[in-house]
């Protein structure tokens, strides 16, 4: 135990705890005003989304533009849970939590069932899993919610006010993340079979479909409280610094430990060469789905954080233009570098949304969006591997020496050609 708390691990833990305490003190004493607090939380959320995308694209090599779709799903789901909860309606909580549990159980069962067959097509897998998930949520809506909705509400309200609120917030975050994970699993089964650019376009299509659905939540979908294109107001503002910190550290640690495990090495090997990975016995399909789902869960969690920080959600927050931000962040920071993503993610929000919005002179606020593409272009021209390349700080660095880049040297002939052959 003490052995592991040495060196980089210890300094990382102490450093992050010190950071937590300092920020908490700043917030408590009022030195960090709500504006900058908001920027900090937003930066954390954006970094979590980008870390998820880095897991999918930077570490697993699957070009995805759908991260903001899952971010939106997490945000809206968790916001709906707490929105209804503070209006004495536990239905969303019960449906999301128990529906997710049932859907997961059913999907596990279906997967075990399908494993008894060979030659099962991807679309078949997709259909059966979809049916399982739909059945789970249907049961939750139809039977579980009427049965245990009110008793659960009473029971949770039996706790003191603050504690029940924290529990509900925790469940909302978990629910949003789980829902994003389930959707990404269902969507990932068929789509991850596609090649690089096709996957990007399909996931971009997913983002746009989610955006359109959010625009019509009150007309086409049965969620009048989300108010469609007018924006969802009245979400309780429950995000606090400890929550942000815990979620952020959870994301970082889960991702680090995942990448350092043997599964993580499988994920990396799929990026390096999918064929070769398959040939050494890695189940590339399930590896890709795993990375995709974990990345989307991070995005969903970040969505919950962001929703309860803003207390307002609007479909344009998840539209086409902002959906490229995570991609740009991970490319800036370096594909396959958690350190780079973390630095760039915070810096991105801090600079673009915090500093420049505040201090640019009147009439020049939109100039920041004119300049950053130029910075991006310069970056691509001068340092295409990103700010950090694949550098990691010591704590996040893989314990084994990383794979060395093998230089492609022309094969040297084993035997020197004979003189007369050269002459010919």
């Amino acid at each position: 135990m003490l052995q592991r708390l040495r060196g980089p691990n210890l300094s990382f833990i102490l450093g992050s705890l010190a950071f937590f305490v300092v920020v908490q003190i700043l917030i408590s004493t009022g030195l960090l005003n709500p504006y900058w607090q908001n920027i900090l939380f937003w930066g954390a959320a954006m970094t979590m989304v980008s870390l998820g995308l880095n897991l999918i694209y930077g570490f697993n090599g699957q070009f995805s533009l759908g991260q903001f779709g899952f971010y939106a799903i997490g945000a809206y789901a968790s916001a709906d849970i707490t929105y209804r909860w503070v209006r004495n309606d536990p239905s969303a909580l019960v449906v999301v939590i128990f529906g997710s549990i049932l859907a997961l159980i059913f999907m596990l069962g279906i997967s075990a069932f399908l494993r008894r067959f060979y030659g099962v097509a991807t679309l078949t897998k997709f259909l059966f899993n979809l049916l399982a998930a739909v059945l789970g949520f249907f049961l939750a809506v139809r039977f579980i919610n009427p049965a245990i909705g009110q008793p659960l509400y009473q029971a949770l309200n039996g706790f003191p006010q603050g504690i029940s609120q924290q529990i509900v917030f925790f469940l909302a975050l978990v629910g949003g993340a789980t829902l994003a994970g389930i959707v990404s699993y269902l969507f990932g089964i068929p789509v991850l079979e596609l090649g690089s650019d096709y996957l990007g376009i399909a996931t971009l299509g997913f983002t746009i479909i989610v955006k359109v659905l959010l625009d019509n939540t009150d007309t086409l979908l049965p969620f009048p409280e989300m108010k469609g294109a007018r924006g969802m107001v009245g979400i309780p503002k429950w995000t606090t610094w400890p929550w942000v910190f815990v979620c952020f550290m959870a994301v970082v640690l889960v991702m680090r430990n995942l990448l350092h495990s043997s599964t993580g090495r499988a994920i990396l090997s799929v990026r390096e060469d999918e064929r070769a990975a398959e040939l050494v016995g890695i189940n590339t399909a399930s590896t890709k789905i795993l990375a995709f789902v974990v990345g989307s869960v991070f995005a969903g969690l970040a969505g919950g954080i962001r929703a309860h920080d803003m207390a307002f959600l609007h479909p344009t927050m998840f539209g086409f233009l902002p959906s490229f931000n995570p991609l740009i962040i991970i490319v800036f920071g370096g594909l396959g570098s958690m350190t780079g993503t973390i630095i760039t993610g915070f810096f991105w929000i801090f600079l673009l949304e915090g500093l420049l919005r505040l201090y640019l002179p009147e009439g020049f606020e939109t100039w920041r969006f004119v300049v950053y593409p130029l910075v991006l272009l310069g970056m691509m021209l001068l340092r295409p591997q990103g700010l950090m390349g694949r550098y990691e700080i010591a704590f996040l660095r893989r314990p084994l020496p990383s794979l060395r880049v093998v230089k492609e040297t022309p094969p040297t002939p084993a035997v020197a050609p004979k003189a007369e052959e050269v002459a010919v």
């Binding site: 067959f117 746009i208 991609l327 939109t366 272009l377």
Partner: protein, 434 residues
């Protein structure tokens, strides 16, 4: 020993696995059933309201032809440099704005009447419109070549993601720069059309026109098939004549304009006067110009030296270099062609919807890309067919499923097509090099 037992158990388990074909067939049947149900529902709704159906078909053609112009740019650029050119939609936007300024500030659409006063107004309109479109095409070609030269060419040796990110950067730059108050401003602005728009009705369509259009279409088709037959027999002169772009032009022009005018002509007879079909001359002009451009492009790509060089470079760049093709010039030419088509598309789109905005390029650009993917990226006929499909599906779903869901339906179609046939309708299955 335990390892042996374990291995035997695993073997037994493997043997007990059953064939999943039954499940696959079941799910295929389920998907097919769902598709048929959706189709049936839409067809019933369409049959119950034929007026809306025909109106939406006309709108779909109009939109589809504009998408086709933009999709061709995507598909050519992707075919030759394997890059999703996200900035293409913004070149389209710049084209629309160029024509906006040339019309509202320079009055370019009326220059013949100032040079030769007393000219026939129809002729003035035609020449003016064509010059507006040509000017926009020129500006957009220049813009596309500039983008290629300064943003994409220096990155060609690097991994593809860098070029993609650069494309996104260029796209954002154009969008946000266009939104600045001294550029295009961030307001929706009413577009002054270069020609007068009037609604067509059945009286304005003499049956002779219909006969001529259909006659041209059928005659071109017959001549084409005869020439093709003879060409397959080895007749070289027939092969040469078969390449004549006039034949393609006759088939497309006669066919599509014939369909539109026939619908306009038949509407009061079939649907009755309860539904007012609004087909304007703008629709015909848009389709006509698009067809001309498509045929010209097809001719350039198929039968000219530069087109041959383009196809060769798309197929294999190093080898084309060895054959003495200047690949950089060819790529620049491809971007110029793509940009000019996008410019024309922008002008036509603004003409159709009478509005310009600095973000107007995003969604049409994406849908055109979707069209290119559906048709099979890299294939020119594929882009055309895909664009018409997307235009029709989008507009029909707006009419019969749900108006706000039109974007979602278009992208769902994309995902479905990718799942069933990832290489697109006309695309070739990508061979994977190991």
């Amino acid at each position: 020993m335990s390892v042996a037992i374990e291995t035997r158990r695993m073997e037994q388990r493997m043997i007990r696995r059953r064939n999943g074909m039954v499940l696959n067939r079941l799910s295929q049947a389920a998907f097919a059933l769902a598709g048929i149900l959706v189709f049936y529902a839409v067809a019933r709704a369409a049959a119950a309201n034929l007026g809306v159906f025909f109106q939406q078909v006309l709108n779909g053609f109009q939109l589809g032809f504009i998408y086709a112009l933009v999709a061709l740019g995507y598909t050519m650029v992707y075919g030759i440099v394997r890059l999703i050119n996200f900035a293409h939609g913004d070149v389209f936007m710049v084209g629309a704005f160029t024509s906006f300024f040339t019309i509202s500030l320079l009055n370019l659409h009326q220059w013949p009447s100032t040079v030769w006063p007393g000219m026939n107004p129809t002729l003035v309109m035609a020449i003016g419109t064509i010059s507006v479109i040509l000017f926009s095409m020129m500006i957009c070609a220049l813009l596309a070549v500039t983008i290629e030269r300064f943003a994409y060419r220096p990155l060609r040796a690097l991994p593809r993601i860098t070029a993609l990110i650069t494309a996104i950067g260029v796209s954002f730059f154009l969008e946000y720069f266009g939104g600045l108050p001294f550029a295009f401003t961030n307001n929706y602005r009413t577009y002054p059309r270069p020609f007068e728009v009037f609604v067509l009705n059945a009286e304005m369509v003499p049956p002779v026109w219909l006969a001529v259009l259909w006659g041209v279409c059928v005659a071109a088709a017959i001549v084409y098939s005869v020439l093709k037959f003879l060409g397959q027999r080895g007749n070289i002169r027939a092969q040469a004549w078969q390449r004549n772009p006039l034949l393609q032009f006759g088939m497309l022009f006669g066919g599509f304009l014939g369909v539109v005018l026939t619908i306009v002509w038949l509407a009061p007879r079939f649907i009755g006067t309860a539904f007012e079909l609004t087909a304007s001359n703008a629709m015909l002009i848009i389709m006509g110009i698009s067809i001309i451009l498509l045929v010209v492009l097809q001719y350039i790509v198929r039968y000219t030296r530069i087109g041959k060089a383009m196809r060769a470079s798309a197929y294999d760049k190093p080898t084309s270099r060895l054959m003495g093709i200047n690949v950089d010039t060819v790529i620049a030419m491809t971007f110029a062609l793509a940009g000019s088509l996008a410019g024309a598309g922008g002008v036509l789109y603004a003409t159709a919807f009478k509005q310009v905005h600095h973000l107007m390029g995003i969604i049409p650009g994406l849908k055109s890309f979707v069209a290119a993917v559906i048709g099979g990226i890299g294939s020119i006929p594929g882009a055309f067919v895909g664009a018409l499909t997307i235009g029709l599906v989008e507009v029909l779903s707006a009419g019969f499923i749900s108006t706000p869901m039109r974007d979602a339906v278009a992208f769902s179609l994309l995902i479905i097509v990718l799942l069933i046939r990832p290489q697109g309708i006309f695309g070739e299955a990508p061979g994977e090099k190991v």
